[in-house]
C-alpha cells in the first residue's frame, strides 16, 4: 500500500522524482523498521514523510488541483490503520473470526468515509462560492479547532 502511494507520488512529477523518492523511501524504511521491531512510536513519521513528498511538487510547481489527493489521503490512513492492526496482533491471541471481520469492516468503513470526506473537501474547493476573508477565517478556525482537539487528546 505504502509502495503504491510512493509510486504515485514519484510518477506525478518526474523532475522532482529524486527528492520525493528519497523522502518517500526513507519513510518506507521507517515503516519497515517500525513493523519489524514493533516500534509503534515511529509510525507517524512514514505518513508525515510521504505527505511531505506529496506536497513538494504541489508547492514547487503546482498549478491545477490534483484530483488524486483524496486517494492519497485515504491510502495513507489505510496504511496507518493496517500497521496499527499489525501492532495489536503482536501478542499471540486467538481471536474469533467475528472479531477479525468486525475490525476489518470498521477499517474499511473508516477509509471509505475518509475518502468521502477528502473528496468533499476537494469538491467544496472547486465549487464557485468565491473567496474572501470570511472563508479564510473559517479555514483558520477549523485549523485551530483541530489543533485544540489534538492538544486535548494529547493530554
Amino acid at each position: 500500500m505504502y509502495a503504491g502511494e510512493l509510486a504515485y507520488v514519484w510518477t506525478r512529477d518526474p523532475g522532482l522524482a529524486p527528492i520525493t523518492a528519497a523522502i518517500g523511501v526513507s519513510g518506507g524504511v521507517l515503516l519497515l523498521y517500525g513493523l519489524l521491531f514493533r516500534a509503534d512510536d515511529v509510525m507517524p513519521w512514514p505518513i508525515v514523510l510521504l505527505g511531505i513528498a506529496y506536497a513538494i511538487p504541489l508547492f514547487v510547481r503546482g498549478s491545477g488541483i490534483d484530483e488524486g489527493a483524496p486517494l492519497v489521503g485515504a491510502g495513507l490512513l489505510l496504511c496507518s490503520e493496517l500497521a496499527a492492526w499489525s501492532f495489536d496482533e503482536r501478542w499471540r491471541i486467538t481471536a474469533e473470526r467475528a472479531v477479525v471481520v468486525a475490525r476489518g469492516t470498521a477499517v474499511a468503513l473508516l477509509v471509505l468515509a475518509a475518502l468521502g470526506a477528502s473528496g468533499l473537501v476537494l469538491a467544496l474547493a472547486a465549487a464557485p462560492i468565491g473567496g474572501g476573508l470570511a472563508w479564510t477565517a473559517l479555514g483558520a478556525a477549523a485549523a485551530v479547532l483541530v489543533v485544540g482537539l489534538a492538544a486535548r487528546l494529547g493530554r
Binding site: P70, G73, A84, A95, S118, L122, G139
Partner: protein, 421 residues
C-alpha cells in the same frame, strides 16, 4: 477498568492539524484533502470513548483433580452495552496449561460464557484467577484493562501408582489390623503347636496331634495386627529435568504408599524433613489420607543451611515399633545423618533412594566427567554406610514401577529380625 488510549488518536489529530495549517499557509487544497481523513479518524477515535463496564466471574467444574486430568473453567462475561473485542487471559501457574485459547479475543454482545479446558500437568495446590481482561473498541483506538473475578482454589493430586507388595514391619502394634504378626497368639493364620497349659481353650486343642502324642496339644496362630508407618520425606533438594524431578517422584510414592497402608487399616504419619520441617502424627482412616495428600501438595523445596537432626521432631511423630520408610535422593548430608540416627535408635528403617542420577547429565569436559564419577562414588559410599548399619537401601529410578522396588526390599528383609540393643 483502567483506560488506555492508543497514541494513534493523538497522532491523527496532530497530522490533521499539520495538514490543515500547511494547506492554509501554502494555499493548496490538496493538503487539506490529505489532512481530512486523519481529522475524521481523530473525531471517530474521540467518539469511541465508552467504558464497556465488563464484569466477570470464574467457576471451576470441580476443585479437585488428578494429575493429567482436565478441569473446565467457566468464565462468565457480561457487559450491559456489549463490547466489540474482549481479550480474556487466565493467568495460570506453570503446572497447569491451556492447550489453546488462552489468551483469546471474543466479541461480547451482552453476556457470554467461555469454557477454558485446563490441563493439570503436575500436582499442587493452586489458585485460578483473577482474570485479566482487556476490552478494545472496534478500531483499537482505546482499550480498558482490569483484573476481574475472585481466585478459585484447585487441588491437583498426584497420580497413584499401583502398589501390590507392601513392606511388612518387623514388629506390629497391638491393635487389630490386616498385617499378620510374627508373634504367636489368637488369630487366623496357623503358627505352631505346643503342649497344653492350664487356661488354654478347649477349642484350640489339636486333637490329631493329641491322639498321636498321647498328651494334650493346642494350636497357635499369628494374630492380625496393625502397623505404624512413618513416611520420611527428604525435601532438602530437588533435582529436575524436563518437567520431572525427584520431588515429584517422592510425592507420588508417598501418596501411593499412604493410600495402600491406610487401606489396610494401618496408621500412617508423614515427616517432611527439609528446609521447611512439617509432620503429621500417625493416624488411620480416609480423613488421614486426605490430610496426608493435602500436606504433600504443600510440599516444596525451601533452601536452608540450618543444621537439623531428628531431635527437633516431637516424640509422638515417630512411635516405637514404627516402620520408617525414607524417600530420599541421598543428596543432603543432614537427611543422611538423621536417617542413620534413626537406625541407631532402633527404628525399623527402609531407605528408598529416589535416584537423581537420570536427571543429571555429566559434563562434556574431563573435569566435569571426573566430578560426575566422584559424585557417583560418594553416593555408593553413602549407600554402603546404610547397608553396614543394616538398613536396606534400594534405588528407584524414574520410569521404574514402585512395586519392583518394594519387591526388592521385601526380598532383602525376608529373614530380618528386630535388632535388640
Amino acid at each position: 477498568m483502567t483506560r488506555l488510549d492508543s497514541p494513534r488518536v493523538v497522532a491523527y489529530a496532530g497530522l490533521a492539524a499539520f495538514g490543515l495549517i500547511a494547506g492554509l499557509v501554502v494555499g493548496r487544497v490538496e493538503l487539506v484533502a490529505l489532512a481530512a481523513p486523519f481529522a475524521l479518524a481523530a473525531v471517530v477515535g474521540a467518539a469511541l470513548v465508552r467504558d464497556p463496564e465488563i464484569s466477570a466471574a470464574i467457576a471451576l467444574d470441580r476443585d479437585r483433580a488428578l494429575e493429567g486430568e482436565d478441569v473446565h473453567v467457566s468464565v462468565e462475561l457480561s457487559a450491559p452495552a456489549g463490547a466489540d473485542r474482549v481479550e480474556v487471559f487466565l493467568p495460570l501457574p506453570s503446572e497447569l496449561r491451556v492447550p489453546e485459547g488462552n489468551p483469546r479475543a471474543v466479541a461480547l454482545s451482552k453476556s457470554r460464557t467461555l469454557d477454558v479446558a485446563v490441563q493439570c500437568e503436575r500436582w499442587g495446590a493452586f489458585a485460578i484467577g483473577p482474570l485479566l481482561l482487556r476490552s478494545r473498541d472496534r478500531l483499537g483506538f482505546h482499550s480498558w484493562e482490569a483484573q476481574i473475578g475472585a481466585a478459585r482454589p484447585l487441588r491437583v493430586y498426584p497420580s497413584v501408582e499401583t502398589v501390590r507388595t507392601m513392606l511388612a514391619p518387623l514388629e506390629t502394634q497391638v491393635f487389630i489390623g490386616n498385617q499378620t504378626s510374627r508373634a504367636k497368639s489368637e488369630g487366623i493364620e496357623f503358627a505352631d503347636i505346643r503342649g497344653w497349659v492350664p487356661g488354654d481353650r478347649v477349642r484350640s486343642i489339636n486333637w490329631r496331634a493329641t491322639a498321636r502324642r498321647g498328651e494334650l496339644h493346642v494350636n497357635q496362630q499369628h494374630p492380625e495386627r496393625n502397623t505404624d508407618v512413618v513416611l520420611f520425606l527428604d525435601t532438602f533438594t530437588d533435582v529436575r529435568t524436563g518437567g520431572r524431578g525427584t520431588l515429584d517422584m517422592t510425592v507420588r510414592a508417598a501418596t501411593s504408599l499412604a493410600h495402600r497402608y491406610l487401606e489396610r487399616k494401618d496408621r500412617v504419619g508423614v515427616v517432611s524433613f527439609g528446609g521447611y520441617l512439617s509432620w503429621l502424627l500417625p493416624a488411620s482412616g480416609t480423613r488421614q489420607l486426605y490430610r496426608i495428600v493435602d500436606s504433600l501438595l504443600q510440599m516444596d523445596i525451601v533452601l536452608s543451611f540450618a543444621r537439623k537432626g531428628i531431635d527437633i521432631l516431637p516424640p509422638r511423630t515417630l512411635p516405637p515399633k514404627a516402620l520408617v520408610l525414607a524417600l530420599t535422593p541421598l543428596l543432603d548430608a543432614r537427611s543422611a545423618g538423621a536417617l542413620l540416627d534413626l537406625r541407631a535408635r532402633g527404628f525399623d528403617l527402609v531407605v528408598i533412594e529416589v535416584s537423581p542420577v537420570p536427571f543429571v547429565r555429566p559434563g562434556s569436559d574431563e573435569l566435569a566427567k571426573l566430578a560426575y564419577r566422584l559424585w557417583r562414588l560418594s553416593r555408593e559410599s553413602l549407600r554402603m554406610r546404610y547397608e553396614q548399619a543394616g538398613v536396606p537401601v534400594v534405588e528407584w529410578v524414574d520410569g521404574e514401577p514402585l512395586n519392583v522396588v518394594l519387591e526388592e526390599v521385601t526380598a532383602f528383609r525376608r529373614h530380618a529380625r528386630p535388632a535388640r540393643a
